[in-house]
């Protein structure tokens, strides 16, 4: 059985703080080499779940094993095989980027020259002699990930790695994360950026109120949602009546046609009929077809009300 056991296996995890059930019966499995995402709004329990799996917190109930080993109490046999990134600023004070990496390397008994390899991996060679306090948010985040990878772990845990980054820095970091995964490592990350999960993760679990609401590959979750596609073209290319007739032929109700003066949009489950109809009328200028995203799945599951 050892050969087929999941890399990460958590069963019925529970953790309460006072009367708050932060984690209320979470079961999940992550296979070797998988890129797994835990999604959820703030306070959903994703970080607590991750910390229980990492072995930072003791669960009130449930079992966890990583690489077939128990994570609690602190397991020195497991620690060298996992890499953890907790927060961008988890550094020693006033050390340079290279010194941080050298120090972390020595904690794992890894030679100091590995620091330069890691600096190159995350593209921080030029910042090697810069103190970590002076790095930009994206640079600090990449250094933090380099520190988690310095001992070449089999499993990597990343807690909201793109938290406060600008769009450029986020995309830059995505490339790094894809590379980490491509090297055959098992990666688990928490995030509340749906686009990030959709582009990076093989499989995601959407959490709220301490439980997993839905789990699966992002594309499958989106398909499950079964939302109509939205086909839009520039306004003024065909009369509203024509558009409604076209929609009706594609089986869509009249209220599926909207025109805001900029775009004419038809929501439909039979895009082929709508598209060919628009083509017949030479009304394809500014065509855009958009489907549901993971964000729609997420909002559908967790609700739209604002949470501080």
């Amino acid at each position: 059985m050892a050969g087929v056991a999941a890399t990460i296996s958590a069963r019925d995890l529970r953790k309460s703080y006072g009367t708050v059930k932060a984690v209320d019966g979470v079961t999940l499995e992550v296979q070797q080499g998988e890129f797994f995402g835990i999604l959820g709004p703030n306070g959903a329990g994703k970080t607590t779940t991750l910390e229980i799996i990492e072995g930072l917190r003791e669960a009130d109930a449930g079992q966890v094993s990583v690489l077939g080993l128990p994570v609690w109490p602190r397991n020195p046999a497991l620690l060298p095989r996992i890499g953890v990134q907790l927060q961008a600023s988890s550094f020693f004070e006033r050390l340079t980027a290279r010194e941080q990496l050298e120090t972390f390397a020595s904690l794992y008994g890894v030679p100091a020259r590995r620091a330069d390899v890691m600096l190159a991996t995350v593209g921080l060679e030029e910042q090697a002699a810069t103190r970590t306090e002076k790095l930009s948010g994206g640079q600090a985040q990449r250094l933090s990930i380099a520190c988690a990878l310095v001992h070449d772990p089999e499993v990597v845990f990343l807690d909201e790695p793109t938290g406060a980054l600008d769009p450029q820095a986020r995309r830059n970091l995505w490339d790094l994360l894809r590379q980490i995964s491509a090297e055959g490592r098992t990666v688990v990350l928490t995030t509340h950026h749906m686009d990030e999960a959709e582009t990076l993760c093989d499989r995601v679990a959407i959490m709220d109120h301490g439980v997993i609401l839905e789990e699966g590959p992002p594309a499958a979750l989106v398909r499950q949602l079964d939302q109509p596609l939205r086909v839009s073209v520039e306004s003024g290319q065909l009369p509203d009546d024509d558009a409604r007739a076209l929609a009706a032929r594609a089986g869509a109700p009249p209220d599926s046609v909207t025109d805001d003066g900029v775009s004419l949009t038809i929501a439909t489950r039979e895009p082929a009929a709508v598209l060919s109809g628009l083509a017949d009328r030479h009304a394809l200028a500014g065509l855009r077809v958009s489907g549901a995203t993971l964000e729609d799945v997420f909002l559908n599951l967790t609700g739209r009300e604002y949470r501080a």
Partner: protein, 354 residues
């Protein structure tokens, strides 16, 4: 490189690169030594200022015959009128007015300061005495020879230096431990270390090693500068016993810093808690106010202040000239304090703020 060595190096670099910490641990104590030293130095005998009204031949003769000796205790100015001169004495600008009426020397002085008024009386009494003796035309029957005896009482620097050094070491150790603990918890480095295979013992001993190194650097820098002729600290025979006192003192105050760091949630809170304990201790534990001169109630309270044992332990061996054994009670008390505080710190320790 072992985890222990690289951790020690990382922490030491972090300390050395922190200019504020360097200033506070090394420079401020020396500045305080300069400040407190000058306050205590100014207690030397003051010069008496006298206004001479009219012609006072007796005084002029005495000044001429003293070969400058009189000038050391007295400065003489000429006043125009008696009324103005008396007003100056009343205001305290000058200490006495002198005038001569025939063969009588008249001295009017203020007793606002008893020491100077005593000096005024004694100086003029001796001037008249000498003039009388000279008037007899015979050699004096009795002679006075004076020779200075070496002063064995403690010079201010001798008790100030161990006091300020003790305060510097205590605050360095306390703040170092407290701030490190809180900031490592805040930025999650503490938990990051917990998820690496390094043992807690390595982390703690590396921190202790760095704190001890810092304390010994403080000791060396302070002694080097305090023993320069400018400050004039004279180390006595068993001064080297101050080293073990400094070591156990550092341990004691580090463990206090760990308690403060465990209780506090933010760095500001940790600083406040540490200050709340260190500052009163500096005044009540013999660091800023030497216990020899302190009121009785301070001396009694000082026994409750851990700083007292660090200060008096060092004072005995490096400034009072007592034997090496005289530091042993202080070392024992500091070790006991370390043991108790470390136990408390271990109980209140938290990995994170939740």
């Amino acid at each position: 490189m072992t985890a222990f060595r690289s951790l020690s190096r990382a922490m030491f670099r972090g300390f050395v690169r922190d200019r504020t910490a360097l200033v506070f641990t090394i420079l401020i104590p020396l500045l305080f030594l300069l400040l407190f030293g000058s306050i205590y130095k100014s207690t030397s005998a003051p010069k008496v200022s006298v206004i001479e009204v009219g012609r006072v031949p007796l005084l002029d003769q005495a000044v001429a015959g003293s070969h400058g000796q009189l000038g050391k205790v007295m400065s003489i100015t000429r006043g125009a009128s008696l009324a103005a001169a008396l007003e100056d004495v009343r205001k305290g600008t000058d200490n006495a007015v002198v005038l001569q009426q025939g063969s009588t020397l008249v001295v009017r002085y203020s007793i606002a300061d008893q020491v100077t008024s005593g000096v005024v009386q004694a100086v003029f009494a001796s001037i008249v005495q000498q003039a009388n003796q000279a008037a007899t035309g015979r050699p004096p029957a009795y002679q006075l020879t004076v020779a200075q005896v070496e002063d064995k009482s403690l010079k201010p620097i001798q008790y100030l230096a161990p006091g300020l050094l003790g305060w510097a070491i205590a605050s360095g150790a306390t703040f170092g431990a407290a701030i490190t603990l809180v900031s490592w918890r805040e930025n999650k480095l503490l938990r990051r270390l917990r998820l690496s295979p390094v043992s807690t013992v390595s982390v703690v001993t590396a921190r202790i090693g760095v704190s001890l190194a810092v304390a010994l650097v403080q000791l060396a820098a302070f002694l080097l500068i305090a023993t320069t002729p400018f400050f004039g600290l004279k180390l006595t025979a068993s001064w080297w016993m101050a080293i073990p006192v400094v070591i156990v003192g550092t341990l004691a105050f580090m463990s206090f810093g760990l308690v403060a760091g465990a209780i506090a949630k933010t760095q500001q809170a940790a600083t406040a808690i540490a200050n709340l304990v260190i500052l009163p201790m500096a005044f009540l534990g013999g660091a800023f106010i030497p216990l020899d001169f302190a009121p009785a109630w301070i001396r009694q309270i000082s026994y409750l202040m851990p700083l007292r044992y660090l200060v008096t332990g060092m004072q005995n061996v490096m400034a009072r000239g007592e034997g090496p054994v005289s530091a042993v009670p202080a070392i024992a008390v500091l070790l006991a304090i370390t043991a108790v505080l470390t136990l408390i710190a271990a109980r209140v320790f938290r990995w994170d703020n939740i």
